[in-house]
């Protein structure tokens, strides 16, 4: 499984890319492989304020609907509208074109609660 070193990770399988005071969020290669065949993504509305660990999006495969959580407290500044017509981008390019939303974060210190690539690797290999 691909686990890029330059990203942060949650226990619930989201990846986080820091972009100044914004973060971009998606689900990991491991998560998309577990879900398989993503057929629908419910995106958050831009401008929504979200708490850490609050459900903000839904990724649905043929079999199940899975909540996607905000890694930290913030405000939604972007949602990946390309997923509306092509939800399978999450499968084909989970760390790139398959990103789900971007947050303006309230407090950069909150990112210290997230785990490194090495720690996430340990989690999924356990």
């Amino acid at each position: 499984m691909n686990v890029p070193d330059n990203l942060l990770y949650t226990k619930s399988h989201e990846w986080i890319r820091r972009e100044g005071d914004h973060i971009r969020v998606g689900i990991t290669d491991h998560a998309q492989a577990e879900l398989t065949d993503v057929v629908f993504v419910e995106l958050p509305k831009v401008g929504t304020n979200v708490e850490a660990k609050a459900p903000v999006a839904v990724v649905e495969s043929v079999k199940a609907a899975s909540d996607i959580y905000a890694p930290v407290k913030g405000t939604v500044v972007e949602a990946n509208n390309a997923l509306t017509n092509n939800p399978a981008l999450i499968n084909s390019d989970p760390f790139g074109e398959g990103w789900i939303f971007a947050l303006k974060i309230d407090n950069a210190d909150d990112l210290k609660n997230l785990q490194s690539a090495a720690a996430y690797k340990d989690q999924i290999e356990a």
Partner: protein, 367 residues
């Protein structure tokens, strides 16, 4: 207290070796998918796929009174079966509720094979044994047989390769015994996918050999192993019911729209009075099939079905149809809202998505 461990079919190690994702189903550990549900679904619609159905149960009923007794236990007319022929039928309780839906084959003058759902083996057997009459023998042979369903348009090519070009598969709903590579097998021309196909039963000790023979010889035809995920999307496109979801002890076959498999002319069978009552008074709720009007989240079991904003029922089975690329499902709705063409709304996470009641089946093969 820990849950009892799930049972494993004789093909368990083959599934693991093929990288299947294993999930509990009806008390068994079964493959839900090997590669992807959509890919396996398309394999069955376009080539040929093989499913492990070893978890399903097999009972043998025999004896001079076997036919007449089974006719009092099951809804379809057993007397219509020639030797080698099978029929879809229901085992009902006295309220007309569905204990199980199954296929009954007449495999000898006075001998019958019942193929029942995995999760219902114990319950069906106890019910039948409790009502068993003199002149009949009932044996649960579930542990002796493995089985696979081989389904898809290339199935005849595959069996010509296995059996020889001149050998004919049984006709639809018929069963014939063959020997393939020294393995005695029973082949039935039945299935749960809407494609041409067979269900094959063999000795547990032959399971791995048979499975690998089919995959090896079928490779050039595009044959692949397929899991329960694709089995569910395939059967739902055809509106074939799943017991426990679309059928239950609280629902009868008339409500489910499956009266074709009930012979009310028969003088006596368990549940008959209730079914006559439903027929006379009309079902309060009916099992309908629907299609979503547009793109949106897939409909799923237990979501509410509304008609002009009022709740009229709920979804019993729902998915994204890989063939139609739109959300489809079935559900029980009040009879007044059950007509084909009725607009419905599906409530998904507080939002409303429009759908329309469609004629069954939802998928029709392009010929």
């Amino acid at each position: 207290m820990s849950e009892p461990a799930e049972k494993k079919t004789p093909l368990y190690l083959e599934h693991v070796r093929l990288g299947a994702r294993m999930v509990p189903f009806g008390g068994w550990l079964m493959p839900v998918q090997y590669t992807s549900i959509v890919d396996e679904h398309q394999t069955v619609r376009n080539a040929v796929g093989m499913f492990d159905i070893s978890h399903m149960g097999q009972f043998i009923v025999s004896g001079s009174n076997a036919r007449d007794w089974l006719n009092t236990m099951l809804t379809n007319n057993v007397a219509k079966l020639d030797v080698g022929q099978g029929q879809y039928t229901f085992l009902l309780n006295y309220d007309g509720g569905v204990i199980d839906d199954l296929i009954l084959y007449r495999i000898g003058e006075t001998e019958f094979l019942l193929v029942v759902n995995a999760s219902k083996i114990e319950e069906d057997f106890c019910w039948l044994e409790k009502h068993r009459q003199d002149g009949t023998m009932l044996k649960n042979r579930s542990a002796d047989f493995g089985g696979v369903a081989i389904q898809g348009p290339r199935v005849v090519d595959l069996f010509h390769d296995l059996l020889g070009q001149s050998v004919e598969l049984p006709a639809r709903n018929h069963i014939i015994d063959f020997v393939i590579s020294e393995m005695p097998v029973s082949i039935a021309r039945t299935g749960y996918t809407g494609e041409d196909g067979v269900e094959v039963f063999f000795r547990v000790s032959d399971a791995t050999k048979f499975w690998n023979l089919v995959l090896e010889r079928g490779a050039r035809l595009g044959a692949k192993p397929c899991g329960l995920g694709a089995r569910d999307t395939l059967r739902l496109e055809m509106c074939y019911p799943l017991n426990g979801s679309d059928l239950s002890a609280e629902r009868n076959p008339i409500e489910a729209g499956l009266g074709f498999f009930v012979d009310l002319q028969k003088p006596n069978f368990a549940g008959r009075e209730k079914l006559l009552e439903t027929k006379a008074n009309g079902a309060r709720e009916r099992l309908i099939a629907f299609k979503m009007n547009g793109k949106g989240p897939p409909p799923r079991p237990h979501y509410s079905l509304l008609n002009k904003g009022a709740r009229v029922g709920e979804i019993s089975s729902g998915t994204l149809s890989p063939s139609l690329n739109i959300g489809i499902g079935m559900g029980y709705v009040s009879a007044a809202s059950a007509k084909t063409g009725t607009p419905l709304e599906v409530e998904i996470r507080g939002q409303i998505f429009p759908a329309t009641i469609e004629k069954k089946p939802l998928y029709k093969k392009q010929s």
